[in-house]
C-alpha cells in the first residue's frame, strides 16, 4: 500500500536579507491512511513551515529548495497551481495555527463556508448552507443558524478556531494537517473535536498530521510521533516509545518540562540556554550548546540512526546507550 503522504528530504528555506533561514532542513516522514502522526517540537523549529510546504503555500522569500512530497505516490511539488488548487481544501486540508489565515475578517461566516463547500462540490446554495450548518454543529458551535450570520470578530478565539476546523472537515480530506487546532478550546470541547477527527480517520481513512505543543493530547491521539528541533526531525517512533523511553536529549528535556511532571508552585524544569538562531546554527548537532551529553563527537553532523527497532534519532549518544 502506498502511503497517503510521504515527505522525502524536504528543505524549505527563507532567503532573507539577513541570511538564509533554513526553516525545514532535510525532513522525511510518511503517513498512511487512518493514521495519526503527532508533530511536536521546539517553537520555531519548522512545524508550520513543513505543513505549508505540503500545502504548496510557502510565501516568498521562502521556497522548497529540495526534496519530494508524494501524495498517494505523486510528487505534488511539481503540480501546476491549478492542479494544486483542486487538491487543496478538498483532498488535502490544513487547519492553520492562526484561524484568521482561513477566515476573511470582512465576510460573514456563511458566505465563507458556502464558498468553501461550493469550491469543490456541485451543490446548490441552500444545500451548501445546510452542510455548513451541520459542520458548525459538529464542532460544538451552538445556534449554528444564527452564528452563520456573524462576522469572525464577533466570535471568541475558540469559536474562530472551531470554524476553521469545520471548514477543513467539509470535504472529508484524505490528508488533514492540523496546526495547533485545539489550543483555544476547553477540554470538554477539545474532546468533542478529537472524537470527530477520530471518527473521520476511521470512516474516511483520513491521514492526520497533528501539530501541537500539548503532549497529553498527542499521548492519547497519535500512533507515531515526530519531534522537531531547529528545522530537523530529531526523533521518531510510536507514541509510547517516544514518550516513555525517549532517545534524544531534547525529547527528554521537553517531557520533563510538562507541568504535571513538576511540583506545584515550584520552578518548572526548563531546557537550559536558548534556541540557536536559525541564521547562525553551530556546526554539528544543533542541540549541542544546550545538551548535557554533548562531547567532541557532536561537532559532527548526526545522521538519523535506529538504535532500537521502530525508533529513530539524530544523536551520537542516544539515551538508550547511556542507561544500558
Amino acid at each position: 500500500m502506498t502511503a497517503t503522504l510521504e515527505v522525502r528530504n524536504l528543505r524549505t528555506h527563507f532567503f532573507t536579507r539577513a541570511g538564509v533561514v533554513k526553516a525545514v532542513d532535510d525532513v522525511s516522514f510518511s503517513i498512511a491512511g487512518g493514521q495519526v502522526l503527532g508533530l511536536v517540537g521546539e517553537s520555531g523549529s519548522g512545524k508550520s513551515v513543513t505543513g505549508f510546504s505540503v500545502m504548496g503555500l510557502v510565501d516568498p522569500p521562502g521556497h522548497v529548495v529540495e526534496g519530494a512530497i508524494l501524495y498517494q505516490g505523486r510528487d505534488i511539488t511539481r503540480l501546476s497551481e491549478r492542479d494544486m488548487r483542486a487538491l487543496r481544501g478538498n483532498r488535502i486540508a490544513m487547519i492553520f495555527q492562526d484561524p484568521m489565515m482561513t477566515l476573511n475578517p470582512v465576510l460573514r461566516i456563511d458566505t465563507q463556508m458556502i464558498e468553501a463547500v461550493q469550491a469543490h462540490a456541485k451543490v446548490s446554495r441552500a444545500q451548501a448552507r445546510s452542510r455548513a450548518r451541520d459542520a458548525l454543529g459538529q464542532v460544538g458551535i451552538p445556534s449554528p443558524d444564527e452564528r452563520l450570520a456573524a462576522y469572525p470578530h464577533q466570535f471568541s478565539g475558540g469559536m474562530r478556531q472551531r470554524v476553521a476546523i469545520a471548514i477543513a472537515l467539509l470535504h472529508h480530506p484524505d490528508l488533514l494537517i492540523a496546526d495547533e487546532p485545539t489550543t483555544a478550546l476547553d477540554v470538554t470541547i477539545q474532546a468533542q473535536i478529537l472524537s470527530e477527527v477520530q471518527k473521520l480517520a476511521v470512516t474516511y481513512g483520513t491521514a492526520l498530521i497533528w501539530i501541537t505543543h500539548d503532549l497529553s493530547v498527542i499521548a492519547g491521539l497519535a500512533d507515531e510521533i515526530a519531534v522537531m528541533y531547529a528545522g530537523r526531525i530529531v526523533e521518531t517512533g510510536s507514541a509510547a516509545r517516544v514518550l516513555d523511553t525517549p532517545l534524544h536529549p531534547y525529547t527528554q528535556g521537553l517531557i520533563g518540562s510538562v507541568p504535571s511532571r513538576n511540583r506545584r508552585g515550584e520552578k518548572l524544569r526548563q531546557i537550559p540556554g536558548m534556541t540557536p538562531s536559525l541564521l547562525r546554527l553551530p556546526p554539528g548537532c544543533a542541540f549541542r550548546t544546550r545538551c548535557p551529553h554533548a562531547d567532541a563527537a557532536c561537532e559532527q553532523e548526526p545522521e538519523p540512526s535506529q538504535p532500537v527497532p521502530g525508533q529513530t534519532t539524530r544523536c551520537f549518544h542516544p539515551l538508550i546507550a547511556v542507561s544500558a
Binding site: D98, G157, A184
Partner: protein, 336 residues
C-alpha cells in the same frame, strides 16, 4: 491579604449586532433575502464580581466562548462594561481623571490570546516592543538598545530578530513578542489570555518561571486565563470557573482540584488529557451545548448536566459559600 488592586463589581457585557459598514450591508442583503436572524444580542458576561489582591495569581477557566477574554479586556480597561464598574486600587476607572486613567492603563497590561491579530503587521519588533517604554519615559534613548535586547531575551526571543516584522515569526515567537511588549512597560497587573498556549512546554516553562520570578521580585499580580488546567494548577493561588457568562465556582487552587463541587468543574477535570494515556477514544459531549444567544433558563449548565433536576430549569442557582473560601452555584448544594 493586601487591598485589592483590581475589583470588578457586578460587571456585565452585552454585544449587540455590529454597526460597521460591512455588517450593515450584510444585514440589508439578508433582509431582502428574508434570511435575517432574530436574536443578535450576546450576553457575554453576566453580573460578575471579582477582586484580585496585590501579588495574587487568579486563574480563570471556562468553556470556549464563555466570556473570559471579555472579562480580561474589561480588566485591562480596553473595553467598557455594559453594566457595573471596574475599580483600580479602589477607584472606578470610568471616573478617573485622564492622567490617572492613562497611568492605570499602563500599569494593567494584557497579553492577547490571538498574538497575530494583536500585533501591528507594519511595525518591526523593535517598535512593537520598544515604542511604549520610550514614549512613557521608562527608558532613555541612550539606553534603548540595551533595554530592548534585555526585553526580547527575557521573553526567549533572539535580539538578532529585532528588525523583523510579525509575519516572519512562528506562532510561538509571535506570542513571545506579545509577552515582551506587555512586560516592557513594567506593569503591576498582567492579564494573561492564553499567554503560553502557543509555546512548547520547555519555552512555556521558561516563561512561567519568569512570571513567578516577577511576582516574587516585583509583586506582580496576574489574572491568568487558560484552558490548560495543568498550567493553571501549577501557577494559581485561586481559580475561578466560568460557564456561559457566569462564575459557577471559585476556590483556592488545591480545593478546586481536589474537591470540585460544580458539575461543570467536575466534567472539566474528568476530561483533562493525561500524558500517561495511550491511544484513547475521545468522547463527544452529551447533551446540547447551550448558546449565549439563547441562554438556557435557570442554571445555564442544565442541558449538559447529568444531575439536572426540574428546579434547575426554572431557577438560577446563586454563587454562595459551601465551605470557607469555596463558592459554587449549584442547586445540589441545597440538599446537603
Amino acid at each position: 491579604m493586601s487591598a485589592p488592586i483590581i475589583e470588578l463589581r457586578g460587571i456585565s457585557k452585552r454585544f449587540g449586532p455590529s454597526y460597521d459598514a460591512a455588517a450593515r450591508l450584510g444585514r440589508s442583503i439578508a433582509r431582502r433575502l428574508g434570511t435575517e436572524q432574530k436574536n443578535e444580542i450576546v450576553q457575554a458576561v453576566d453580573r460578575v464580581d471579582l477582586s484580585v489582591a496585590s501579588g495574587e495569581v487568579v486563574g480563570l477557566v471556562g468553556e470556549s466562548g464563555c466570556g473570559k477574554s471579555t472579562i480580561g479586556r474589561m480588566v485591562a480597561g480596553i473595553m467598557p462594561p455594559s453594566e457595573g464598574s471596574v475599580l483600580y486600587k479602589g477607584q472606578d476607572i470610568a471616573t478617573l481623571p485622564p492622567d490617572r486613567a492613562r497611568d492605570a492603563k499602563l500599569k494593567v497590561q494584557m497579553i492577547f490570546q490571538d498574538p497575530y491579530a494583536s500585533l501591528n503587521p507594519r511595525l518591526r519588533v523593535e517598535d512593537i516592543v520598544g515604542e511604549a517604554p520610550l514614549v512613557h519615559g521608562l527608558v532613555k534613548r541612550a539606553d534603548f538598545a540595551t533595554y530592548l535586547d534585555a526585553q526580547l531575551r527575557r521573553a526567549g526571543l533572539d535580539p538578532a530578530y529585532r528588525r523583523r516584522y510579525p509575519h516572519q515569526f512562528s506562532g510561538g515567537q509571535r506570542q513571545r513578542i506579545g509577552i515582551a511588549r506587555a512586560l516592557a512597560v513594567q506593569p503591576e497587573f498582567l492579564v494573561c489570555d492564553e499567554a503560553v498556549a502557543a509555546l512548547d512546554v520547555s519555552i512555556q516553562a521558561q516563561i512561567l518561571n519568569l512570571f513567578m520570578d516577577l511576582r516574587r521580585e516585583l509583586d506582580l499580580t496576574y489574572l491568568f486565563i487558560s484552558h490548560d488546567l495543568g498550567v493553571v494548577e501549577h501557577l494559581s493561588d485561586r481559580v475561578l470557573i466560568m460557564y456561559l457568562g457566569r462564575i459557577v465556582e471559585s476556590a483556592a487552587t488545591e480545593e478546586v482540584f481536589s474537591r470540585p463541587n460544580h458539575p461543570y468543574t467536575q466534567a472539566l477535570l474528568a476530561e483533562v488529557p493525561r500524558i500517561e494515556a495511550r491511544k484513547r477514544r475521545f468522547t463527544a459531549i452529551t447533551g446540547e451545548i447551550p448558546s449565549p444567544l439563547a441562554p438556557p433558563s435557570g442554571c445555564h449548565f442544565h442541558p449538559r448536566c447529568p444531575h439536572a433536576m426540574p428546579r434547575c430549569v426554572q431557577e438560577e442557582p446563586q454563587l454562595r459559600d459551601i465551605a470557607p473560601g469555596h463558592r459554587s452555584a449549584c442547586h445540589l448544594n441545597d440538599r446537603l
